[in-house]
Structure formats: C-alpha cells, structure tokens
C-alpha cells in the first residue's frame, strides 16, 4: 500500500466481508503517534484464525486471504516501531488497532484519509461511524446520514461531496499535524 490511509480502507473491507452492520473507525494522533482502530459487530474470528490473525495465509474465505491485508498492515506499522493488535472472539466482532510512529524514517505518509473514509462509508453496506481524537468524538455516523437521505443513493455525486466536506472539516487539523510530524516535515 502506498500510504497509511489505504491500509485503513483495506481493513474496513474485512468488516464488510464479515457481514458487519455497524463499524466504528477511530483515528487519533498524539505527538507523532498515529492510531487507527476498527471495531465491527460481525461474527468475530473463528478460533484457529484468532490464534494468529495477521499470518498472511490466514483466511476465512476462498478468494484472497483476509490475513493478507492484516499482514501488510502489520509490516507497515512495525516498520515504524509501531504495532498491530487484532482481537475478536467468535460472536463478539473484531477489533483491529494499528499504531504508527509518523516521525520514523520508514513511515509511509498518511495519505488521503478523507478519501479512504468516504470510499468505505459509501462503498460498504454497513453503517460506518468515524471517531476522532482521544477521548473520541463522533465526526460522522452513517446511520444518521442514511436516515436523513431516506432512500436516496449515497453514491450520488452531491451526497459524496457533502461527506467529503463533513470529514474534510473534521480531519483537516489531524492531516495538517500529521504532515508536520512526518519524517522530513511536510510532504
């Protein structure tokens, strides 16, 4: 993956595949420590997968292994001195948390976080909730957005623009801070 926002987009797909109906994505940045978290309400991990979910050959489906994305995420996080934890007993959903040190020489740039979140919000059938900071504040709740739209498609360009604006306003300070703490400054 070229940037960190694409990793977030990728783990958000796992929750769609797992059939989750509500997924909370959290983003926070303290000093140069960036944390992504994704908590879904899907079926959780079956026991053998739960033992080592970031193993690249670990899969619960017949196409590309779920574990491929998680293994890539783990590699990207560990390259910065960060880490990835995956928790999810069967029946309790899955929680993925990734920590990156943005100031590390090997950290990829954050990338287009707003674009990644809008793509997931529009693309996947579950209600995405986006939380920012610590303690987390909700900056987008797709359940409310869907209710307000009352059947009008999320994919409509003007709806998409609204989502981009809503998340753009909320995440601009974090994106700016991320650019500032990145190794080598703004890029």
């Amino acid at each position: 993956m070229r940037d960190l926002s694409l990793h977030l987009l990728d783990i958000l797909e796992n929750s769609a595949k797992a059939g989750a109906t509500r997924v909370v994505a959290g983003v926070s940045l303290e000093n140069d420590i960036l944390t992504f978290s994704v908590q879904d309400n899907g079926p959780g991990l079956p026991a053998p997968v739960a033992a080592d979910p970031t193993h690249p050959y670990c899969t619960t489906r017949t196409e590309r292994p779920v574990g491929l994305g998680l293994a890539l995420l783990r590699a990207a996080a560990e390259a910065t001195g960060g880490s990835v934890t995956v928790a999810g007993a069967a029946g309790r959903g899955v929680r993925v948390e990734a920590v990156f040190h943005l100031g590390h020489v090997d950290a990829r740039p954050l990338g287009d976080l707003v674009g990644a979140l809008v793509t997931a919000a529009v693309g996947w059938p579950y209600d995405l909730v986006v939380e920012l900071g610590r303690p987390p504040g909700v900056v987008l709740d797709m359940a409310e957005v869907r209710r307000a739209l009352d059947g009008v498609s999320l994919a409509h360009p003007s709806v998409r623009r609204w989502l981009e604006q809503a998340l753009g306003e909320a995440l601009a300070p974090l994106q700016e801070q991320a650019a500032g703490v990145a190794f080598g400054g703004t890029r």
Partner: protein, 118 residues
C-alpha cells in the same frame, strides 16, 4: 458531527432530478475494493469515475464498491452494467482509462474493446 440540514436539501434536489428522468439509473459501475484492488490504485480509479461523471453532469449512474472477485491480477477492476445489457468487465483500469470508459461506454454506448478482459 456536521449538521444534516444541508444533506436533506441535497436529498430533495436529487429526488427532483431523478423524477425528471423517470426515476431509473441508466447504469451501474462496480469497482473492486479488495486488498489487491486498493493496492493497485482502485481508490483513484473510483475517484476518476466519479469526477468524470460529475464533469459530464451525469447523475443517474450508480457507482458501487465490491469485495475481491478472484481476478486480483487484473486490478484495478471495473464492471459496467448498462441497463438491458450484459455486464462488461475491464482490467488494469487506471484513472485515465476509467475516464475513457465512462465517456465511451456509459455515455457513448460503445464497449472499449482493447480494455475488456474475460
């Protein structure tokens, strides 16, 4: 969270537009957003499709994401479903090719043969 009032206005406007067109979408575009798709640039492909539709003022095309289809080596992968036609699958669709597919296939009605696969 941003106020939803503006969104409700957008909703009413979209409804009006759709009614003028008989309430039907003319096409559906499916972009694969699996791990391989994302790594190969599917987010940029999707963005190019949406931007081209917006530039052409087309509002009756639905653009949706799909998970892995098992054609990972063809990523980014785009499927065009025109109403009353069999779906057509395109492989290695970067932003530039995506714009071309929107203009020639969706708006022009001609399959872009050299980009088709499968």
């Amino acid at each position: 969270m941003k106020s939803l009032d503006e969104l409700r206005k957008i909703r009413d406007q979209v409804r009006k537009d759709l009614e003028l067109r008989g309430g039907q979408h003319r096409a559906k575009v499916v972009v694969c957003m699996g791990t391989c798709g994302i790594a190969a640039g599917a987010r940029e492909t999707m963005k190019a499709i949406l931007d081209t539709l917006e530039a052409e003022k087309v509002t009756d095309v639905a653009v949706v994401a799909a998970g892995c289809q098992g054609f990972c080596e063809q990523e980014p992968l785009v499927e065009i479903h025109l109403r009353d036609a069999a779906p057509v699958r395109y492989g290695h669709v970067d932003a530039e090719k995506a714009a071309r597919i929107v203009r020639e296939h969706i708006l022009g009605g001609h399959t872009v043969d050299e980009l088709v696969f499968g």
